[in-house]
C-alpha cells in the first residue's frame, strides 16, 4: 500500500488551522530559520481518512480477533473507559496549572482522580502507598529499582547486585542494568524458584530479587514464604513484577506476603488498551519502609477534604515523569475499578485462571505441556514434538494468524524449547475457547500430514512472511518519496 508521502500532490491543502498575516521571515532573523519547508504529505482530509482507515484494516486487534497472547493480558478494553478519558474537563487540563499559584483549587477533579486511583491500587495490592508516575511497566521497574537503591543508600548498605530468575521478562535484567546493578541470573527448579538456589546466590551485596508471581510459566511460586524469609535475613528487598497480576486479584495481596515494591501494568490488568504498543501505565506500589522514597510530587488529601500536591519530600528519588504519569491512561483504570468493584476484580482473576486451565486441558493431548498442573492465568506448551515434521512454534503461530487468531507468545520464556505461551483472559467465552482449540488441534494434525502448509502460512493476510534479514541489512527506516 502506498505511503501517505507517496499520495502527496504539491499544492494540495489539508487542514490549515490558522491564517497568520506575517511570515516567519518577518518575525525572526533568517539564520535561525530552516532552509526549506518540512517535506510533509500534501493531501486532503479525505485522503488522510481513507489512508488510515485502510491501514487500520491491516491490523489484528481485540475488537476483531481472539488474542491468547501469553504475558500480555489482551482482555477486552471496555468502551465506556474511552468516554471517561475523553471528558473535556480532564482532557484539556494543563498539568502545570496545579503547581501554579491558585492552580490547586482549579484542578481538584484531576487531583482527586490521582488520589483515588492510588488508594484503590494500594488496597488491591496491599501496599502502603502508590505512585502513578511511571509511564509504562518497564519504567515502573526502573522506578522500583531506583527506590530499592535509595533505600539501601539511606541505610548505608553497600549493595551492587539484583537477582533475576531465568524465567523473567527481558525488561527485568535490562532494568536492573539500567539502574546500575550487576544482574545475577538464577535457574528455576520444577518451574519455580527454589529457596536453596536462591540461598546460594544471596550474599550481602544483593539489593533485591525481582520476581513475577505467578511466573512466566503460569505457575504460582509456591516457596514464596521461604524466599521472603531468606531475603529478609540479608536485608535484600523483594520486587514484584506485576505483568501477571491478572491471575491473583482478591486471592493474594503482594503487600501482605512481604513484597516491598510492585509495579502493575494497567494496560494489562486494568483493561486499558494497548494501542499497538503503548501508551501503557506502570504505577509503583511500596511497603511502609519505602514510602519516603517515592517520586514527587505526591497528591494528598487535606483535612478539609480537598486535594493538594506535596513536592517537599526530602528523601524522594525525584520525578520519573514530567508531571503525574499517564493521566489519560490511569483514568481508564480508575473507571474500570469503579465499574467492577472488589468483587468484579476478584471474579476477573478467577475466570482468567478458569479459562487458562480449560484451554490447557483441551490442548494437553496435542501439545506437550512441560508443567502440566493447575496453572494460573496462563500456561506454556512446547511444540518441539512437531520439529520431526519440520514444523516450528513459529509455523504454528503463523497458521493461527491465517485462521484469524492472534498467535500466542512464541519463544518465551526462554527456558522452554519451541515455546508457545497461552493466556486467554477472562473476557473470552467458552465458545471462543472451544473454537480456537478445535482449530489449533486441526492445525497440529496438518503439521503431521501437510507440514509444508504450515511453513507457508500465512497466505491470505495482507502480506506473507517477511524478510527480516533484508530489513536489518538494508535498513530502509524512512520513506524516500
Amino acid at each position: 500500500m502506498k505511503t501517505i508521502f507517496a499520495q502527496s500532490s504539491s499544492g494540495r491543502k489539508g487542514v490549515i488551522p490558522a491564517k497568520p498575516e506575517r511570515t516567519a521571515e518577518d518575525m525572526l532573523p533568517k539564520y535561525l530559520l530552516r532552509r526549506t519547508p518540512p517535506r510533509m504529505p500534501q493531501v486532503s482530509e479525505l485522503d488522510v481518512v481513507r489512508h488510515f482507515t485502510a491501514l487500520s484494516r491491516k491490523n489484528y486487534n481485540i475488537d476483531n480477533n481472539f488474542y491468547p497472547l501469553g504475558s500480555c493480558t489482551m482482555k477486552y478494553n471496555p468502551k465506556f473507559m474511552e468516554y471517561a478519558a475523553s471528558l473535556p474537563g480532564f482532557a484539556l487540563m494543563h498539568p502545570l496549572l496545579a503547581q501554579q499559584p491558585g492552580g490547586e483549587s482549579m484542578t481538584q477533579g484531576s487531583l482527586e482522580v490521582i488520589h483515588e486511583t492510588e488508594r484503590l491500587l494500594a488496597e488491591v495490592t496491599g501496599m502502603a502507598a502508590f505512585s502513578l508516575q511511571p509511564m509504562a511497566g518497564a519504567q515502573g521497574e526502573l522506578t522500583g529499582a531506583l527506590l530499592i537503591a535509595a533505600y539501601h543508600k539511606h541505610k548505608g548498605n553497600k549493595k551492587s547486585k539484583i537477582i533475576c530468575p531465568d524465567s523473567a521478562h527481558g525488561t527485568n535484567p535490562a532494568t536492573a542494568a539500567l539502574a546500575g546493578y550487576e544482574v545475577i541470573n538464577i535457574a528455576s527448579k520444577d518451574g519455580v524458584l527454589d529457596p536453596q538456589i536462591l540461598g546460594n546466590a544471596l550474599d550481602d551485596s544483593v539489593a533485591a530479587l525481582m520476581m513475577t508471581c505467578p511466573n512466566t510459566l503460569g505457575l504460582f511460586e509456591k516457596h514464596l514464604p521461604e524466599l521472603v524469609e531468606k531475603l529478609r535475613a540479608s536485608d535484600a528487598l523483594l520486587y514484584y513484577d506485576g505483568a501477571n497480576f491478572n491471575a491473583i486479584m482478591g486471592r493474594m495481596r503482594v503487600g501482605d506476603v512481604g513484597f516491598d515494591v510492585v509495579h502493575l501494568n494497567l494496560h494489562k490488568t486494568m483493561g486499558t488498551p494497548h494501542g499497538g504498543g503503548g501508551p501503557g501505565s506502570g504505577p509503583v506500589g511500596v511497603s511502609e519502609r519505602l514510602v519516603p522514597f517515592l517520586p514527587g510530587p505526591c497528591v494528598y488529601k487535606k483535612t478539609d477534604g480537598s486535594f493538594a500536591l506535596q513536592d517537599n519530600l526530602p528523601l524522594s528519588i525525584g520525578r520519573v515523569t514530567p508531571f503525574y504519569g499517564h493521566f489519560g491512561v490511569f483514568i481508564k483504570a480508575l473507571a474500570y475499578m469503579l465499574r467492577l468493584g472488589g468483587h468484579g476484580l476478584a471474579r476477573a482473576s478467577d475466570f482468567a485462571v478458569l479459562n487458562a486451565n480449560y484451554m490447557r486441558k483441551r490442548l494437553e493431548r496435542v501439545l506437550e505441556i512441560p508443567y502440566n498442573e493447575i496453572c494460573m492465568h496462563e500456561f506454556v506448551a512446547s511444540a518441539s514434538a512437531y520439529e520431526t515434521h519440520g514444523v516450528k512454534a513459529l509455523d504454528i503461530a503463523k497458521a493461527l494468524l491465517e485462521r484469524g487468531y492472534h498467535a500466542p507468545t512464541v519463544y518465551f520464556p526462554l527456558i522452554i524449547k519451541e515455546c508457545l505461551m497461552f493466556e486467554p483472559t477472562e473476557t473470552e467465552n467458552k465458545a471462543t475457547l472451544d473454537k480456537f482449540c478445535d482449530d489449533l488441534i486441526e492445525i497440529l494434525e496438518q503439521a503431521e500430514k501437510n507440514p509444508e502448509n504450515l511453513r507457508a502460512a500465512p497466505v491470505n493476510l495482507p502480506v506473507r512472511r517477511l524478510d527480516e534479514t533484508k530489513a536489518a541489512r538494508e535498513m530502509v527506516l524512512v520513506d524516500e518519496v
Binding site: M1, G14, V15, K19, F80, F90, M135, G276, R347, V463
Partner: protein
C-alpha cells in the same frame, strides 16, 4: 458480572473438564497464610454510575477562560479527524506488532511516523517513540555514553527543568557526571561557558531550542566545538516551532529529541505524550526502542517489520540499549495523523500564527509600566517578561479572574521571582491578549 461472559452452566462444564469442583480450588496452590488480610474495595457500579462519578470529578476542575500557559506543553488545536482515526478499535486494541503479518497497519504507520520525525528534525533516522521528551533526553545521554565511552555531560540550564530533573533521577545510580551550565543574567544560554565546559571527557552537550525562557538560538558553532573534542550534541526541540526553525540536522546535532505533545496530543494533565527521538545514521545501533523497517515478503510484496531487534531487552536482556518495552505507539500515530492533516502549510501557518500572537503580546504587555522583556534576543511563541513585583502575586490575582497568565519560572530558577513566561498558540486571540493586558495593568501600582 461485567466483562466475564460465562454462564453458570459453562463454568460448571469447564471446571468438570479441568477436574476441580470449584473456582476456589483453582487457587489451592496459594498457601492459606498468604490469603488477603482484607480486600476492602467499593462495590461495583453500573456503567452509568461509573461514568457519573467521573463526570462529577471532571466537573470539579475549573478551566480558565484565558490561558497563556506553556512551559514546554502547549494547547494547539487538534483536528477532530485525529480522534476519529486513532480511536478506531483496529489501532486502539492492537498489540505491539511482533507478528508482522497481522500488524501491517501499525507497522506502516510507525514507518511513516519515523519519516515525519526525521523530516521535521532534519535527521537521518528515528525510533518509534519513547515515553516523553524527558525520557528521550535520558536515553540520548545513555546513547552518548555508549557511543563515546565517556560519562560526563554538559547540560544547559535552558533545557526544560522538568526534563533535567528526570535526568537527575534516572541517572542517580549510574556513574554519570552532569555539569549544569547556568544561564546568563538575561536568561540566555551562556554559550561561552558551554563552550568552555566541553572537553575531551565530555560525552555530550545537551541544549534546547527554543530554550525554556523561549529564546531561539543557533547552536551550530557549539556543536562544531563538541565535534572537535569527540563529544556528541543533543538538541531538544519543540515540534510546532520546528516547522519554521533551523533544524537539529542543519545545526549538525547528533541526536534530536522532542516532546510530541504539541502535535496531536491533548494536554491531559500530563500525559500520555510521546518522546520523539532521531539521530544520525552512525548512531542507529545505539538508538533505543522499537524501529520499523521496510522489506518484502516471500512474493516480493512490500511490507514492514520491527527491525534491529538485537538492541532490545527481549533479545539482549541485561545488555540491551534500554529497558523500554511499551512505548507511545498510539500517540505516535496521533502525531502522524495530525501532521499529515496539516501538511507543510498547516504546520507553518500554525507556527507563524503562534509567533505573530506572541509578538502582539510583547507589544501590548511591554507597553505597561515596569514590564520589560528579560532579554532582547529572538524568541519563539513564548515570551519571558520581567514584572514590576513578585510574579506570583500578579499570577494568583489574575487567576481569580479566570486568566492564567502563563508559567512562573521562579519555581525552578533562583532569582526569577519577578519573571513570567507568556505562551501563545493559534488558539489564542488578540482580544484575549488585550483583556490580559488590561487586567495586568489594573494590578500594576503606578
Amino acid at each position: 458480572m461485567p466483562f466475564v461472559p460465562h454462564t453458570p452452566e459453562e463454568t460448571q462444564e469447564m471446571l468438570a473438564c479441568i477436574g476441580v469442583d470449584s473456582l476456589d480450588n483453582l487457587f489451592a496452590c496459594i498457601p492459606a497464610g498468604m490469603r488477603p488480610k482484607h480486600f476492602n474495595l467499593p462495590d461495583g457500579l453500573s456503567e452509568y454510575e461509573s461514568c457519573s462519578r467521573l463526570e462529577d470529578m471532571a466537573g470539579r476542575n475549573k478551566h480558565p477562560s484565558i490561558s497563556f500557559m506553556g512551559g514546554g506543553f502547549y494547547d494547539h488545536s487538534i483536528p477532530k479527524a485525529v480522534d476519529a482515526l486513532s480511536g478506531r478499535g483496529e489501532f486502539l486494541t492492537a498489540y505491539t506488532p511482533y507478528q508482522a503479518e497481522a500488524a501491517q497497519g501499525t507497522l506502516q504507520a510507525i514507518f511513516e511516523y519515523q519519516t515525519v520525525v526525521t523530516r521535521l528534525m532534519g535527521m537521518d533516522v528515528a525510533n518509534a517513540s519513547v515515553y516523553d521528551a524527558g525520557s528521550a533526553l535520558f536515553e540520548a545521554a545513555m546513547m552518548a555514553a555508549r557511543a563515546t565511552g565517556r560519562t560526563r555531560f554538559v547540560l544547559d540550564e535552558g533545557v526544560n527543568p522538568l526534563y533535567r530533573s528526570m535526568l537527575n533521577t534516572l541517572t542517580a545510580n549510574l556513574s554519570m557526571k552532569i555539569l549544569t551550565i547556568k544561564r546568563d543574567k538575561t536568561g540566555l544560554p551562556d554559550l561561552n561557558a558551554l563552550n568552555g565546559a566541553i572537553d575531551g571527557q565530555t560525552a555530550a552537550v545537551m541544549v534546547q531550542n527554543p530554550t525554556f525562557f523561549g529564546n531561539v538560538l543557533d547552536y551550530t558553532d557549539l556543536f562544531q566545538q563538541a565535534k572537535t573534542v569527540g563529544a556528541l550534541s543533543v538538541l531538544c526541540v519543540y515540534p510546532v516551532m520546528q516547522a519554521v526553525l533551523k533544524t537539529p540536522g542543519e545545526m549538525r546535532a547528533d541526536i534530536a529529541v522532542a516532546d510530541g505533545q504539541s502535535v496531536g496530543q491533548p494536554l491531559n494533565f500530563g500525559g500520555p505524550y510521546l518522546g520523539m527521538m532521531a539521530c544520525s545514521k552512525a548512531l542507529i545501533r545505539q538508538l533505543p526502542g522499537r524501529i520499523a523497517g521496510r522489506t518484502v515478503d516471500l512474493e516480493g510484496k512490500t511490507g514492514y517489520v520491527l527491525t534491529l531487534q538485537a538492541r532490545e531487552q527481549h533479545i539482549r536482556r541485561a545488555k540491551a540499549t534500554s529497558n523500554i518495552c511499551s512505548n507511545q505507539a498510539l500517540c505516535a500515530l496521533r502525531s502522524l495523523i495530525h501532521i499529515s492533516l496539516l501538511g507543510p502549510e498547516g504546520l507553518i501557518k500554525t507556527a507563524e500564527r503562534s509567533l505573530e500572537l506572541s509578538r502582539y503580546a510583547e507589544a501590548k504587555l511591554c507597553a505597561l509600566p515596569g514590564v520589560t522583556r528579560l532579554n532582547n534576543a529572538p524568541f519563539g511563541n513564548e515570551l519571558a517578561l520581567r514584572l514590576p513585583g513578585p510574579a506570583k502575586d500578579f499570577y494568583a490575582s489574575l487567576a481569580r479572574e479566570g486568566i492564567i497568565a502563563g508559567t512562573l519560572p521562579g519555581h525552578w530558577y533562583e532569582g526569577e521571582e519577578n519573571t513570567l513566561l507568556v505562551a501563545c498558540t493559534e488558539k489564542n486571540t488578540e482580544s484575549q491578549i488585550d483583556r490580559f493586558a488590561a487586567a495586568l495593568k489594573m494590578r500594576i501600582k503606578p
